[in-house]
């Protein structure tokens, strides 16, 4: 993000060599007045992947240009390869036991913390989706608010989903029969190509709220909000590897994730309609849970439970009644 004007008061006391010889009356507040020095060089951000809690470059060394809605160049994003997808699955698998083993209440707390971190970056998200989608600033801000609210919505679910979809089943015998939902495992998520932030949040949060870990392929056209979301995830107590974000060609990475035997679920939301059937066929080879894309998905509507229950298994235990 480039800032046209830079506040001047944030430097003098932070630099020891400037503060070495204090003036009798203390340092002058405006020792480096704005505009006095030479023009400032742009500090551009290198957009990288988010894998295992770290921000690596693509192992392939490739990147691709990301353009805004009006065709202007925004940044270069990493072009992830199948080996990046492989590494991301390894990271997600390693994180699964720890994440699923946390108490539901603790997962909810951590998800709420993510929402807190996103709230502090609202302006950055709004600017990014305004550039990516070519929408007005106030519209972008409303979408960001909806995305943060969506995350808060799912932060409430981890310790409630078991009561809603699990329970004590009525049986005609001297035993209890209890069903509880359990996470499916590692879920590969193809993020929606539209709605780069609200849609992204709406597919990631339900998957991890219930204890799954995920490998997300960000929207090919607008990956930058996903990488900024990764920066919020990285500072919000979410263990590394629970969410892994890849940027690149969905059509290149998705077949490898769909056929990967260590991936347990596949969310095809962002798959191109003509490719979804082939991906579902590949996923069937290892009996993955698959969530099919819905072309008319309305991201502003009440999300319901469908995205959480799609990646849950039901464990039922029988227990004799005590006397």
């Amino acid at each position: 993000m480039s800032t046209p004007e830079r506040p001047a008061a944030d430097t003098p006391d932070a630099q020891p060599h400037l503060a070495a010889a204090p003036e009798p009356g203390g340092p002058a507040p405006d020792r480096l007045p704005a505009g006095a020095g030479p023009a400032r060089l742009a500090v551009r951000k290198t957009y990288k992947l988010y894998v295992g809690g770290a921000f690596p470059r693509s192992e392939s060394g490739r990147c691709y240009p990301v353009t805004g809605a009006h065709g202007g160049h925004l940044a270069n994003a990493a072009l992830a390869s199948r080996k990046d997808a492989r590494d991301a699955v390894v990271a997600a698998r390693a994180a699964f036991a720890g994440w699923a083993g946390r108490t539901a209440y603790n997962r909810g707390q951590i998800l709420y913390r993510v929402a807190e971190m996103m709230e502090g970056r609202r302006a950055q998200y709004a600017a990014e989706i305004a550039e990516a989608d070519g929408i007005a600033a106030d519209h972008a801000d409303r979408l960001v608010c909806a995305a943060v609210d969506r995350w808060v919505h799912y932060a409430g679910w981890p310790d409630k989903i078991a009561q809603v979809v699990g329970g004590a089943n009525p049986v005609s015998g001297p035993y209890f029969n209890l069903s509880t939902p359990e996470p499916t495992g590692v879920v590969a998520v193809l993020a929606p190509q539209r709605a780069p932030l609200l849609g992204l949040v709406s597919v990631i949060a339900p998957v991890i709220a219930t204890g799954n870990t995920c490998v997300v392929v960000a929207a090919e056209r607008a990956p930058l909000p996903a990488l900024t979301l990764a920066e919020a995830l990285a500072v919000s107590d979410l263990p590394g590897g629970v969410v892994n974000i890849l940027t690149g060609r969905t059509a290149e990475i998705a077949p490898h994730l769909a056929a990967h035997a260590d991936v347990n679920g596949l969310d095809l939301t962002g798959a191109a309609p003509e490719e979804a059937a082939e991906l579902e066929r590949a996923a069937a080879g290892t009996l993955k849970r698959v969530l099919r894309p819905r072309p008319d998905e309305d991201w502003t509507a009440d999300p319901g439970l469908a995205r959480m229950t799609a990646f849950l298994e039901t464990k039922t235990v029988w227990h004799p009644v005590g006397r």
């Binding site: 699955v89 490898h256 056929a259 990967h260 035997a261 260590d262 080879g285 290892t286």
Partner: protein
Amino acid sequence: MTDTAPPPGAAAPSPLPPDAAVSNAALRALLHGLPGVDEVGVQARAADLATRSVKTTAKARAIDLAISMVDLTTLEGADTPGKVRALCAKAVRPDPADRAVPSVAAVCVYPDLARTAADALAGSGVAVASVATAFPSGRAPLEAKLADTRRAVADGAAEIDMVIDRGAFLAGDYRAVYDQILAVKEACGPAHLKVILETGELATYDNVRRASWLAIHAGADFIKTSTGKVAPAATLPVTLIMLEAVRDHHAATGRRVGVKPAGGIRTTKDALRNLVLVNEVAGPGWLDPAHFRLGASSLLNDLLMQRTRLSTGSYPGPDYYTLD
């Protein structure tokens, strides 16, 4: 010295008569007359060779070679006859879905389970290897070590993995180590003897080179890096130094001693790096299960997964392989 050139005169000493009484002074003169190891050089050479890229058809052949070199190992206090039998079944046919996968070289167990393994592997061509001599510490009277060895051989072990007395070696009592290896070699009878140096406890690369020469001169058929109970276990520089020792011994005497890195080799990449090291340091003559082994347990599943990856094109998952 450079790591590839044969060492000068001192490194190829005249073989000691194996049955003559050898004095500590003579062994000390021999071992301390070996050229010192260039620590930085050997690490750089090992790291350089580790960057070799082995892909596609070469990788497929290397994976099959590595599978045929595995000493499939279970050395836990919790080992049961059932677990050993399951491991033996896996050793004979590592991937039940694919008969083209070769058998491993041997199954390595504690001596009390050698009979179980021998029964399970009878007629399969897979050897039974047994650790002996108070593995892993080696802290027992010589009589106990020899009894341990004889019993394992009688129970069907074709290969014995002994540990050297690291305490005696580090104290400079090379004669004691030498005599013990000779005695165990005699107790082995027809069985092959692998001598475990436990390089993680030898402290320096110079000691690794000395221990290698000591074990070779005492009649070891194989020299093995580690028990797997001490970290670090089989590192590439240590394996490189041991490969140099067997290469130089072969050049001087014509006898080909094998090398077995064991412990810490878990991935296909680790295994392929070891094979590159063997080819580049000792030579292709060692690229054979008779002269190079990989002591491992979890490595085999990773080799099978990489094999599946090459043959099917999709990434495999551990859910589809045995837990052992």
